[in-house]
Point group: C2
Chain length 321, copies 2
């Protein structure tokens, strides 16, 4: 595997007559927005560039890649993977491309180097920032659709410029997008405000089951399969719920138990503030993860499991690190 510079990447891509762009499974705004913007930039340079249809796409993200899905008979000269850290993150229909990716553009430090050549910028908040810089190298004048795709990429990966990964470039790209006529307010409403009714009911139920332990230091809640089914919750509706527990003042550890398809078995998400180590808490139950976000699976009664996890967190809080 060879590491490329921006200029080399731009050369490789424009030298190809046709490029197929891959996005990752359960695609987010960054992989799709970056892929869409790259295709549009390359098309303006005379390259036939399309995005490989991603079967996991959600309705909210579909407009970002509208008109850019590769036709069924498309035979590309080059295959580029965008924002995909490893081949295990290929969507199912991309499985056949394993070992065949010519070029990868990514910002994940964990990138496995599976592509023949890679442009990796681990300090970029989003792959969208790398695509923006590629556009500058290409001398591209982005149209409003390209800018909208880049706005989605950067805004979603930075939580609307709220997360710690946000960079000066994230904001400069947003400024250019607004100047270029992007309807950023409609996009912000779509990605950062709108809640499906199912999501609203799930959040309400989670907060209704919430119990505090150790004063207010631990917040633990649970969701039963029956409840999630009764409101017709999708995967999107169940995403990132445990982080909401961490917004409450004084909470140092948030624990959410979500019942799996198998009754009485719970997927546990643990979130912590420094210095509490979430992965250590989960390791005690055969799980793992990162210091601030980890998970495990437990079995039993919902309340009994919740108390057990909360006790483990309490124990970790009281222990010296």
């Amino acid at each position: 595997m060879t590491m490329l510079t921006l200029t080399e990447t731009a050369q490789r891509l424009t030298a190809a007559g046709s490029v197929l762009v891959l996005t990752h499974r359960r695609p987010d705004g960054d992989t799709l927005g970056s892929a869409a913007a790259l295709c549009r930039m390359l098309q303006r340079r005379g390259v036939r560039a399309f995005v490989h249809p991603n079967e996991d796409i959600t309705p909210r993200l579909a407009p970002v890649v509208q008109g850019l899905w590769a036709p069924p008979d498309f035979v590309p000269q080059r295959i580029a993977a965008i924002d995909i850290a490893s081949e295990s993150l290929f969507c199912d229909s991309c499985a056949g491309f394993a070992g065949r990716v010519d070029l990868c553009i990514d910002h994940h430090p964990s990138n496995t180097g599976y592509a023949r050549e890679t442009l990796l910028c681990p300090r970029a908040a989003a792959t969208g920032e790398i695509i923006w810089q590629l556009g500058e190298v290409l001398g591209d004048t982005p149209d409003c659709e390209t800018l909208s795709a880049l706005y989605v990429a950067v805004a979603t990966d930075t939580g609307c410029f709220k997360f710690s990964n946000t960079t000066p470039l994230s904001h400069r790209i947003a400024a250019a997008c607004i100047e270029g006529g992007v309807d950023f307010h409609a996009l912000n409403r779509e990605f950062f405000e709108r809640k499906t009714r199912a999501r609203f009911l799930i959040e309400r139920h989670m907060f209704d089951t919430l119990r505090f332990y150790g004063g207010e230091r631990i917040a633990a809640a649970q969701l039963t399969r029956d409840f999630c089914d009764s409101v017709g919750a999708t995967g999107d509706d169940l995403d990132n719920l445990s982080t909401l527990l961490m917004q409450i003042d004084g909470v140092e550890c948030g624990i959410l138990l979500q019942e799996l398809v198998k009754r009485g078995q719970y997927k546990v998400s643990v979130r912590t503030h420094k210095p509490l180590d979430a992965s250590r808490i989960c390791a005690g139950f055969g799980g793992g993860g990162h210091p601030r976000a980890a998970g495990c699976t437990v079995s039993g009664g919902a309340e009994q499991c919740r108390d057990m996890l909360a006790q483990a967190a309490l124990h970790a809080l009281e222990e010296p690190c």
Copy 2:
């Protein structure tokens, strides 16, 4: 009243030996952040500049103006009002300055022109954007504290760059703040994530009382005085609750009834999406406001009042505009 340019404003302020800066009642991040940044810029130009102590300040905002409160014996040559649209918005301790303000810097289109001279930029997302531009005219090199104050001003008035008023300059200022070492993530967490426990309990209670009318088009909830008292809710905790109802998909009108100190009397907040007119709904109950946000006061049983408001909203929805 004379309208000033940026350059004239910079000249007026630096020509003064000392300046007292006023902020508005129930001060927000923009009035305090802008005032603090302006004082620091002027101090670097040799002007004795301080902020008039605002008795309404909340603990969250106190660090923004730390060390900048005017000493009791401060006798300024000039008085400048920052982000204050009218004298009725002076905090109580500023009442004596009515009719005596030399210079006003503001972005509210509704500014009444009460100051002798005014720099008004209605297209600025925040007064902080005007202070930033003033700094450029002054040739100021802002330090990290000045930048932090400006970040607070711009980020809070744009809802962390989410609201429709966000401008390219909002983002460019944020980029400069990050480059200048501002701990933007700590500020974002403080202003856009952290919830007091009382706020959390209030939100949960509001959502628990929520009822939908007209399918999912109207969401109405109520809060009793007893509940708010029982959780020790402050004014901050009760702020902007009704907008949360509007996040739910399909909701075109959000109605919140908050019981006033007088039992059985409710302050009603109505929020709508286009084209429904909130002020028309409230006018029917002797209230008023803006097309998207209006209010009124009603008396009676909580549920009966809620149903009454919801029926009025339903009626407005079914009527042609």
